[in-house]
């Protein structure tokens, strides 16, 4: 609909949120892979924080700083081993003011 036209930037949404990032300790990582599975690829579209992106080589990378810890990627890709999922250390990560 009108969305594509307005070039929605999810970064602008995440900017509203408070995060306490744990430097150098991402709580989610993507295992090295040649070709991402359909589910892993889907995350580049369906992660609500747009943490997942496709690199030049067609592999999926994650930058977990904006993660809202919903668990969608865990539910889709933990069993296959493509995504290694943990919660941030206590106190770190997203901090909802309203929730």
């Amino acid at each position: 609909m009108t969305v594509a036209a307005t070039k929605l930037r999810v970064e602008d949404k995440l900017f509203q949120n408070r995060y306490l990032v744990d430097p150098g300790r991402p709580h989610i990582t993507v295992r090295p892979h040649e070709h991402p599975s359909a589910n892993l690829r889907a995350l580049t579209r369906i992660c609500p924080a747009k943490c997942y992106e496709l690199n030049d080589k067609g592999q999926v990378e994650i930058a977990a700083d904006g993660c809202m810890e919903c668990g969608t990627c865990r539910v889709l890709c933990e069993a296959s081993g493509e995504v290694v999922w943990n919660y941030p250390r206590g106190g770190f990560g997203v901090l909802f003011k309203f929730g």
Binding site: Q16, A49, T72, L76, E78, G90, G91, L95, F98, G99
Partner: protein, 434 residues
Amino acid sequence: MSEEKFDAIVIGAGMAGNAAAYTMASRGLKVLQLERGEYPGSKNVQGAIMYANMLEKIIPDFRDDAPLERHLVEQRFWMMDDTSHVGIQYRSDDFNESRPERYTIIRAQFDRWFSRKVRAAGATVLCETTATELAHEGGKVIGVRTDRTGDIILADTVVLAEGANGLLGTRAGLRQTPTPESVALAVKEIHFLPEDVIDQRFGLHGNEGCVIEAAGTISRGMAGLAFLYTNKESISLGIGCLVSDFAATCESPYELLEAFKNHPSIKHLIAGTEVKEYAAHLIPEGGYKAIPALFGDGWVVVGDAAQLNNAVHREGSNLAMTSGRIAGEAIFDVKSRGGRMTKKNLALYKTMLDESFVIKDLKKYKDMPALLHTNSRNFFMTYPKLMSEASKNFMRVDGTPKIENERATTAAFIKARSRLGLVSDAVRLAFAWR
């Protein structure tokens, strides 16, 4: 800490965890509650509507000081297509009672209040502490490890109130990780507006509140639901669809949310707002058939972690609170009889839960998740469009004889779903509902 042994450790300070911790601590049990957020509520996301009856059973005088936004006097259900909605609306002044039965709340504030009650009841609440592992001995859960120390914190029972995306119980093999078909991903924003503007737009006075819940082409053929809830001086709105449907369609959740906000039926209601937060969360949608084993040697599981959510009626936090309370009562009961926290003794929790509305309601709708999942295009695309078309045919006055409009409506339904399809959908829906 490791020398100390608790009667119970509660994992999580959401609705279920707080209810369980409060119930046990107020009865004199030695309770430790672990919360990974900076403060209770800082990791929690809900629509959010809170049902009074279930909280009253835990804290009868909660209205004296709980942070409540508005009590609801009006509910609208909308079936939406791209430019219209067909709605059912119920508003009653009877809901302006001295002890209203439901309120909108803001979870980060509400959970902080609930947690103060838990502390006041005598529980030890440790925030900024992520429980990382359940400790076992001879097949029995004996405590937890956290990211604070490597030591085991010992307890007779662990209450897993760790939410839909809980890691402890699933990694210990006590229950399955949620499947993409059994959880919805919901995204939500909170929009601020002056109180009087909200009152005017929704026709409200004082603390009255209004709720809109909407389904239709807004979820683009996926099984999903959107919502708009009025708070005192803000509006919570969001949309959620099954994770399996998101994965299949590769629709982006925030694009769906933007489209919902830009829908002509919604846009004017949130015009001029200031957005202050964007959140995402998983919601258990598997219903009765997805409920895991609820208890074992040294542990029970409550709330979203146990998939206790009534998706049809959009009730979750009240099932969470009730299951937490009942788990707390069952543990206290076993303890006060001098019993050990064995699987056999903790079966009392399930017996009590089975007798409550929680399991009775979920059982009633046990076939609904499968029906909506397999029929999502019909229920969320075809029928909303047909309803809109039918309403338009009924409303338009353009010189077309009414009988022709009626025939056009009937023909559209038959063309879209066939006579047999219509009957079959109706029968299947009726069976899943009964």
